[in-house]
Amino acid sequence: MASLSLKHIFKEYPNGFKAVNDFNLEIADKEFIIFVGPSGCGKSTTLRMVAGLEDISSGEFRIDGELMNDVESKDRDIAMVFQSYALYPHMTVYDNMAFGLKLKKTPKEEIERKVREAAKILDLDLLLDRKPKALSGGQRQRVAMGRAIVRNPKVFLMDEPLSNLDAKLRVQMRTEIAKLHERLGATIIYVTHDQTEAMTLGTRIVVMKGGVIQQVDTPQNLYNAPCNLFVAGFIGSPQMNFLNAVCQAEGERVTLKVGEYGIELPKEKAKKLIDGGYKDKEVILGIRPEDVSEAGGGRVGAQVKATVNVYELLGAEVYLYCELCGNSMTARVSSSTTAKTGDTREFVLDVEKIHVFDKETELAITN
């Protein structure tokens, strides 16, 4: 396996459009890196540059210290799983998996052994003689994975490999991929726009927007300490609530005024706001739906009253979409709630979990 280094990578098309802007990332051996972001954020373009399918406009891309910018795809020792699987329709499952090895002139017995081994791991033993058109979506996806595995490449690239599967199969395959990473100890770069996949699979996540890296961190850190409004909103489902607030300070005490409510911040967060010179300035208060609970449950925090606009039952829990002083706020509460659409209820905001963002730069102040 291998370590990768991407330094000041740019991708600019002839029409002047910059798809990737100053991308810097060091990927350690055996890491499972996730590129995540909305459509058109440059994640697939970056992956394709790593694969050698797109030219790098400027910057340096290295595998194990070796410059790869001008090395052809076939010589990079990289395997890729495509969103559409890209299986060869005229070949059987066996031939699809063996194709790369045959090109390398690997001995027949070794090809046979490797293909059968990978087929066993992926539960494809009985499908080896079938053509791709005779397989289900999930089976095709596994063949695509098998084709990558048998080559034992330095790096695995996966471009939204689960997005063509139905929800149930996606969850199943997600687990399979996680197991596979553990088993192979491979360096994997995985592109997705699904933040659940990103959170569950990645050792580190790269959040991108408009061709620019927003934050690179572990899933937990991204969730707990997003560096800006975009990351805070992108990671987590339902997304973080953003409330317009005014920062009021009296000595060391800092209160965020949301409409008629004053929400007092813990000392650490208060200090950051005072030090940043945010006194009497407008800021954005961010709080995740799971940190908003109904009053009376024994939770401690700032109490506010909000009107429930939509009640959404998900079985184990309920999402309450509310209005709080002109702001939209979602609360994730237990399904035992008695709240109904149109009710005005008291909610408790966990002040320890509050994030504060600069309204102009959208950068996090308290993280």
Partner: protein, 276 residues
């Protein structure tokens, strides 16, 4: 019940319509067959008799005596084989390049191909003949094959076929270790075989029916094709129709054999190319 009756009478109408269409289509062939067994006087008779009075084979004997059919068959088969091989091979490569490769001036070059396709082929006859004449290559198999070595239509047709293959397939091949040529031969060509077969059939039919160029390029009867050879049976002032029809029947044999073997591809080819 009423609906069933209506449906039945509508079906009958459709069958009658198609039957008339079939008769119109098959009539020239039947007439050619019947005429080939008639005498000259019978063939010119007005009103004409549908069936010959005697099923004579004289016209076939005369046709075989008037034309070197062996040479004509050989030339026609060589013309078809070479044109099919060259048109499919070169169109396939050019079509792949236009569909999948990135190079400067690609669109401009493809525009040139399209222009060539749009221009009537007769425009090129004089320069092509002059080239061959200067090279001393007239009255040869090469002269017959030469204008069909590359096919603008084939390039366009196979480009469309390659464009229908997702880019991910060729990208997967590159990542698996293929170079450009291996990607083309091992992955792309097998995926376009039905289009290639259609082009082959289309090219074969066109080459078989091509009259003007073989007539100009090869004036030696032994170097002519079936179509140009048959044309010599037409006199300036009179034509022996039974002999001409018998010759035409004999000339049809290669196409009938080809059709029997490649019936599926013929139909696919017509459907895919919109030809007839």
């Amino acid at each position: 019940m009423n609906t069933k009756k209506k449906q039945g009478s509508r079906n009958t109408g459709v069958y009658v319509f198609f039957a008339i269409g079939s008769i119109v289509m098959i009539f020239p062939f039947v007439w050619m067959f019947l005429t080939s067994f008639k005498t000259v006087a019978e063939s010119m008779q007005i009103p004409p008799d549908i069936l010959p009075h005697q099923w004579a084979l004289d016209s076939f004997k005369d046709a075989l005596a008037s034309l070197p059919f062996g040479a004509l068959y050989k030339n026609t088969i060589l013309l078809i084989v070479w044109r099919v091989i060259c048109a499919v091979a070169f169109s396939s490569m050019a079509g792949y390049a236009f569909a999948k490769l990135k190079f400067k001036g690609k669109n401009l070059l493809f525009g040139v191909v399209l222009v060539q396709m749009m221009l009537p082929s007769q425009i090129f006859i004089i320069p092509q003949y002059q080239m061959l004449a200067k090279l001393g290559l007239t009255n040869s198999i090469f002269a017959l094959v030469f204008p069909g070595l590359v096919s603008a239509f084939g390039t366009f047709f196979l480009r469309q076929a390659y464009m229908g293959i997702p880019d991910e397939i060729s990208e997967a091949a590159y990542l698996d270790g293929c170079n450009q040529w291996q990607t083309f031969v091992k992955v792309m060509v097998p995926l376009t075989t039905s289009s290639m077969a259609a082009l082959a059939v289309f090219t074969a039919v066109f080459a078989y029916g091509d009259l003007m160029w073989p007539l100009i390029a090869n004036t030696d009867l032994k170097m002519m094709t079936l179509s140009s050879g048959l044309a010599t049976l037409r006199g300036q002032f009179s034509t022996n129709f039974p002999v001409l029809m018998a010759g035409s029947l004999l000339a049809m044999i290669p196409m009938v054999v080809l059709y029997l073997f490649f019936q599926k591809q013929f139909i696919e080819g017509v459907a895919m190319t919109g030809g007839k």
